[in-house]
Symmetry: C2
Subunit: 430 residues, 2 copies
């Protein structure tokens, strides 16, 4: 099965927006056993758009377009595709009623020009848009006049805004895809999220334990992200689920202490979820990470049940005045030191009354080096019911990567000391 994705919009070609559709659609399909063969981005100039759709229909079983379904003059996909296929645009009263209801529920007048959104090419299926006004459109071309022998193709047109496209793709497109293009052989896919072990070390550790599964046809993939490595298993055939399950079991047995989640889990999601389940609370004392951890934790709904408070103690004075770090400690050992990290974690635990205090102090760079402590030196501490533990790292990166990687290490340390390990999660999920 061949799949082609066409993203339209002049703002793409001018580099004013980042094309997130490609990654999202490609990944959503790959996780379901389908790989996109080609992605094309073009402006909405008519001859280019029509040519790209025709070329794609000439070689692919499934062609997906994004963008150009809105009401303005540069939204041309609907009309140009109808023209290419020689189909007339028919007014669709149900779509118009849905658009009218959408505006009325928001107490806003219905703009005249949205009427164009209720025009549907003859024979096209309407894909409901729960988050906007322009519906998606799907056309089963059989015979397909652009393909040798007339082999059928499926043309699916989706609106451009991600918050409209994504739910539509999941709810309206994927069920139809499974019916149109069933995977007859079994398929299974699993991603384990890990941190604390580099990609090549991970590969080395897993090579022997997974060798027979890989030789038996399982795909083993690694994807290095900032401060994380994804380990991914893909298997096909009747035993696909068993193969992937066995690969996950062996991987957890081998590097379980580095696994913090599955699929799209993030460390902050796992932290909020597992702390909430256990009724635990947290206080943060961040120096060099500058609120990065607090920001990520508070991105997660429900964080307020876990995070009591965070302190970004960027100046020495604030370490003393807010966290109660002894000024003598700061004077003798310096702000970036084992004793100060310990005092910050214990201080924020005391000040906030949280079960756990997590502190980070270090030198993000580019300046700030002191003798014996080069740029990249970080101390992090966790103070909890069982005492305080301090760890030193050396993280040499640009400033933002430094903050990200340091935050990964700190959250992983906290989860480990709070006895929330990959193994516990695996049991909890099975």
């Amino acid at each position: 099965m061949t799949i082609e994705l066409i993203n339209t919009g002049s703002e793409l070609m001018l580099g004013r927006v980042l094309n997130t559709h490609q990654q999202w659609i490609c990944r959503t399909l790959a996780d379901r056993g389908r790989v996109v063969d080609r992605q094309v981005a073009i402006s909405d100039a008519p001859e280019i758009l029509v040519g790209a759709v025709r070329d794609a229909l000439g070689r692919s079983d499934w062609v997906i377009t994004t963008g150009g379904l809105g009401p303005t003059c540069d939204d041309r996909t609907r009309e140009l595709v109808a023209g290419l296929l020689g189909r007339t645009l028919v007014h669709h009263p149900e779509v118009e009623a849905a658009i009218r209801a959408w505006f009325e529920s928001r107490h806003r007048p219905v703009p005249q020009r949205t009427r164009v959104e209720s025009l549907v090419p003859e024979g096209a299926e309407v894909l409901t848009n729960r988050h906007g006004t322009a519906p998606g459109l799907a056309i089963w071309l059989d015979p397909n006049p652009f393909r040798p022998g007339g082999t059928a193709s499926w043309l699916v047109m989706l609106p451009g805004p991600p918050r409209e496209l994504r739910p539509m793709f999941l709810e309206e497109v994927l069920p139809r895809m499974s019916a149109r293009f069933p995977i007859r052989d079994g398929f299974a896919c699993r991603t384990l999220k890990t941190t604390g072990l580099g990609e090549s070390y991970m590969e080395e550790r897993l090579e022997a334990p997974l060798r027979d599964l890989v030789e038996g046809g399982m795909d083993l993939g690694f994807c290095a992200r900032t401060g994380e490595v994804d380990v991914r298993f893909v298997a096909r055939g009747d035993t696909a689920v068993e193969v992937v399950t066995e690969a996950e079991r062996r991987t957890r047995a081998t590097v379980g202490e580095h696994i913090f989640g599955v699929e799209d889990d993030t460390l902050e999601q796992v932290l909020v979820r597992e702390f909430t389940l256990r009724g635990l609370t947290l206080g943060l004392a961040e120096s060099c990470t500058g609120g990065h951890i607090a920001n990520r934790v508070t991105d997660i709904p429900g964080a307020s049940a876990v995070l009591k408070a965070g302190v970004v103690s960027y100046s020495n004075a604030s370490k003393a005045s807010i966290l109660g770090v002894d000024e003598q400690l700061l004077a003798v050992h310096g702000a970036v030191s084992e004793p100060v990290a310990r005092a910050m974690a214990e201080g924020v635990r005391r000040v906030t009354g949280a079960d756990y205090g997590l502190s980070i102090t270090g030198i993000a760079g580019p300046d700030g080096e002191v003798p014996g402590k080069p740029v990249g030196t970080v101390f992090m501490a966790v103070a909890g019911p069982g005492g305080t533990e301090v760890v030193r790292h050396q993280n040499v990166f640009d400033r933002q990567t430094f903050k990200y990687v340091t935050a990964q290490q700190a959250m992983a340390l906290l989860l480990r000391l709070a006895k929330i390990s990959g193994t516990v999660q695996a049991e909890g999920r099975s």
Copy 2:
């Protein structure tokens, strides 16, 4: 002039990485008066890669490929392109010496397989890689066998990692581009960064003042980002610079209070830069934004001269214990209220000893609504040498967008009250 960009890599088609090359290259070229006509992403399967390069050479003046120049078995671009063009790969001793020097300067042995990176197709120009080992390659195809009439095309092959590609593109490719494809007419481009006024209102306000320039051929573009709108002028011809300068002057005269910077400026960059210039310091008291502002401010090198400390006062208790907010205020008015925002800003100013205290308290949602204060209610306050000002907003968004938009409003408020306006910047720059 037609330009086509080909991004290669199986990880793109599996959706494991986001293709940032497209936006970056398209924007870098658009800012210099060239628009990319088509971008294609494909896997590194040989027949697909060769077909895509051949198709592109058949229709474009300039074809750029990214990826596939490294030393591993899935890096195939060099070899496949040489095959397509019928050119042999020639060992290039200077490239090999550069690769050797790269490893030796890092005290690492030279891996055997990097030798493939010193193979260069006959007649290709080598583009120096200052941040990695694989050089880029440029081939001027004249005649071009794939194009009607043999019209010449320029094929430029770049390595995949962004930190290698970007400096190579700026330093090695752009000067050659200007020589190959000079813009004979003048060209000028300017982007103004604004916040606090929606895209359609901005368009409405600027329509009359800029009408004659637009009618005279200047492109006026708006790009709505989260909590920001870019206003962009592009002009061509002998008077391009004058036209763009005049458009900027009129725009500053019309909506100057909403302009915080130019080109790629961010609010946090402007904040750190202008506070540093004036020797001003800042304390942050964030509730619903959860450290988002502290995180963005500390992304900027030099932030430690400006930010004394931040407090993420997520719990009521921490608002009282750390910021000294009167518990009576919290009990009577609630945490999300004008008096509490005021007390937080004044409290963090007092506790940190900063010149300015900035506070935010609100309901990010999805839960937390109270009577009279629906989800999205935000109070923000700035306490400074001239007193304290409190502003209320209603921001109804998903959680992360809520934090971003609220932070934009808060930083813009702070800049305004610290008398750092768009107009001041314009004068400072001219």
